[in-house]
C-alpha cells in the first residue's frame, strides 16, 4: 500500500527513475562475483530511492537533463546504500527491510569491502561532474554523516541528553543527505541561488520530519511492517524522540534501566512498547514532526511557480505521514 502510494507520487518522473535504477545496476558491476552478488542483492532489496527522487524533482527548477542529473542522483543513492551496509556491521544486524544483510550473508569483512566498493563507485561516478562546488557539498555531507553516527554511538544509553542533542544527531544522520540531494539537484541543474537555498532548506526540514517519523514508527509499527522487532532502536541504546519526551515517566524508568544494563526479555519489550504507545510522547513527537513538515511546505511556497511544486508538497506530506 505504502509502496503504491509512493509509486503514484513518482509517476511524473517514473521513466527517469527507471534510468537511475538501471544506472545503479551498471554502476555496481564488478569483476568480483562476491561484490557483484552482494550489490545485486542490495539493489533487489529496493528502498524508496528518495534521494534520487529529490535530486530529480529539485533539478526540475533548473535546466533539467537526466543524462547530467544521473551523475549526482546515482552517487547519492550509492552513498546511502554503502552506509547502510556498514551500519549493519555497526549494529550487528542480520536483517534489514525483512532481508538478510550483507554481513549476515557473508561476514563483517566482506560487508566492509562491499561498502567501500560502493563508496568508491559513487565517487567514480560523481567525478563526471567537474564543478568543485558539487564535490565540496558532497564531501562535507559524507564527513558529517559519519560525525552523526559517531555522536549516536557516544550518546548511546545516555538519558541525560537534551532534545537539541537528538535534533543535532538526526540532522547529521538523515536530514543532511536529503538536504544535499535537493541542493545538489538544484546546483547541478543550474538553478538560481535563491531557489537552491529554498530547496536545500526544504530537504533539511523534510529530512528532520522523516527521521522523527521513523523514530516514532520504531515504537508504533508492527515487527512485520518494520522487518525487525519494534523498539529495536531503544534496545540498541539509541535514545530517540519518543523516549526523550517520556524519560521522566516513572513507569518507563525500570525498562530504561534494564535496557542499559542487561537488555529486555521479549515480555518486557512488549510491555515497554505498550507503555510508549499509550503515552502522550507519540502525539508530542508527531506534533514536532508536523512542525518540520510545515516549515518544509513553507519553503515550497517560496519557490518559483512550477508544476513540480505540488510534487514536492505531496512527497513531504507522504513522508511525514507514512505508516511504515
Amino acid at each position: 500500500m505504502e509502496k503504491m502510494k509512493l509509486k503514484m507520487l513518482y509517476a511524473d518522473i517514473k521513466s527517469d527513475i527507471e534510468i537511475i535504477e538501471n544506472e545503479l545496476e551498471q554502476a555496481l558491476n564488478s569483476s568480483s562475483h562476491i561484490l557483484n552478488n552482494a550489490s545485486i542483492y542490495l539493489l533487489q532489496g529496493g528502498g524508496k530511492r528518495i534521494r534520487p527522487v529529490f535530486v530529480l524533482l529539485s533539478a526540475k527548477f533548473g535546466d533539467y537533463n537526466i543524462e547530467r542529473m544521473k551523475n549526482i542522483a546515482v552517487p547519492l543513492e550509492l552513498i546511502h546504500m554503502g552506509s547502510l551496509v556498514h551500519d549493519d556491521v555497526i549494529d550487528d544486524s542480520d536483517m534489514r527491510r525483512g532481508r538478510e544483510t550483507v554481513k549476515s550473508q557473508y561476514n563483517n569483512r566482506v560487508a566492509m569491502y562491499t561498502g567501500n566498493f560502493i563508496f568508491g563507485k559513487a565517487l567514480q561516478y560523481v567525478t563526471d561532474i567537474e564543478d568543485p562546488r558539487v564535490h565540496r557539498i558532497l564531501a562535507e555531507t559524507m564527513v558529517e554523516l559519519v560525525n552523526g553516527e559517531v555522536i549516536q554511538i557516544e550518546d548511546k544509553f545516555r538519558l541525560d541528553q537534551h532534545l537539541k542533542d537528538y535534533f543535532r544527531r538526526i540532522k547529521r544522520k538523515t536530514a543532511l543527505l536529503i538536504e544535499s540531494s535537493c541542493e545538489l539537484g538544484a546546483v547541478v541543474s543550474g538553478a538560481d541561488e535563491k531557489t537552491i537555498r529554498h530547496l536545500k532548506r526544504y530537504g533539511y526540514f523534510v529530512g528532520m520530519s522523516f527521521q522523527i517519523v521513523d523514530d516514532i514508527l520504531d515504537f508504533t509499527a508492527t515487527d512485520k511492517q518494520l522487518g525487525k522487532p519494534a523498539g529495536s532502536d531503544l534496545l540498541q541504546g539509541n535514545v530517540t524522540l519518543p523516549i526523550l519526551l517520556m524519560k521522566d515517566d516513572p513507569m518507563l524508568a525500570p525498562y530504561l534501566e534494564k535496557v542499559a544494563s542487561h537488555g529486555l526479555t521479549e515480555q518486557e519489550r512488549l510491555e515497554m512498547l505498550a507503555l510508549v504507545r499509550k503515552s502522550t510522547a507519540i502525539k508530542e513527537a508527531t506534533k514536532i514532526s508536523n512542525l518540520y513538515l510545515q516549515k518544509a511546505l513553507r519553503e515550497v511556497e517560496a519557490l518559483p511557480n512550477h508544476p513540480m511544486k505540488k510534487k514536492l508538497r505531496d512527497i513531504a506530506l507522504y513522508m511525514g505521514k507514512r505508516k511504515s
Binding site: 562476491i34 569491502y113 563508496f119 563507485k121 567525478t127 558532497l138 564531501a139
Partner: protein, 247 residues
Amino acid sequence: MSATSITQAINTLQSNILQHVHHRALLQNVGQPTLQQEQLFFIQFPFLNETPMNDEQMKSAVAVGVVHASLLEHENVKETESTSKQQQLTVLSGDYYSGRYYQILAHTGNIALIQKLSQGIVERCEHQVRIYEQSHTLEDWIDSLTVIESKLIEQFYVVYNFTTYIELMKQSLTVIRLQKELNTLQQGQSGFLYKAFLLDGQAFSRDALIEALQQQIQQRNEQLQELLNNTKIDEELKQTIAQLIAI
C-alpha cells in the same frame, strides 16, 4: 638527497596526515590511524628523486595516505565482539577518513585525483574480497597483494605523470609485503596468503608456503635490483628502498 631529509619527508607527510584526520572521539576510542613507512616513502618517491612537492601536491599526497589509512582501518574490523564500541568506531574511523580524503581533494579541486583514487579503491576492494573467492593460484594471490599495496600510489603517479616509477614502486611494495607475509608465517601466525589458501580449501602446508614465498621473494628481489640498476635514482633513495625491503 640525504638520509635525514628522506626521514624528514616521511615524518612531515605522516604528521600532515594525522593533522587532517584528527577527530577527538575517534582518537580517544580507536587511536591514531595506521600509517606504513613504506607507503609514506613511496607516495613521495618521485618527488624526492626529482623536484620537491609544492603545497598542492602535498595535499594530494596527504589524501593518498588518508585513503590508505581508511582501508587499513577497516582491516581491523573483527568477526567477534561485533557490538563493542571499539568495533563500531573502527568502522566509522575508516568511513571518516574516506570522507576526509574526498573533502581534501574537493577543496583543492583535484577532481582528476578523486576519479583515479576512487577507481583505485574499487579495484583494491575487488582484490581484498578475493580471499573469500575460490580457486586462485599463488600467483593470483600475489597479484592481489600487489594491487592492495600499490594501486592507490600508482593512481597518484598517473595523475602527476610519474608513470616511469610505477613498476619500481609496485615491485618494491610487493616484495615488502611478501616479506611481511613470510615473517608472519615464520612466527606461526596467519597472513593474507595463508588465510587465502585455508579458505580456498587448498592443501598448502605452512612449510610449503614458506618455501614458495622464499622463492618468490628471491625472484622478485632480483627483478627489483635490475629495475633499480636501470632507473636513474638517487643513491640515498636506493639505500632507503634496500632498508625497507630488509624488514
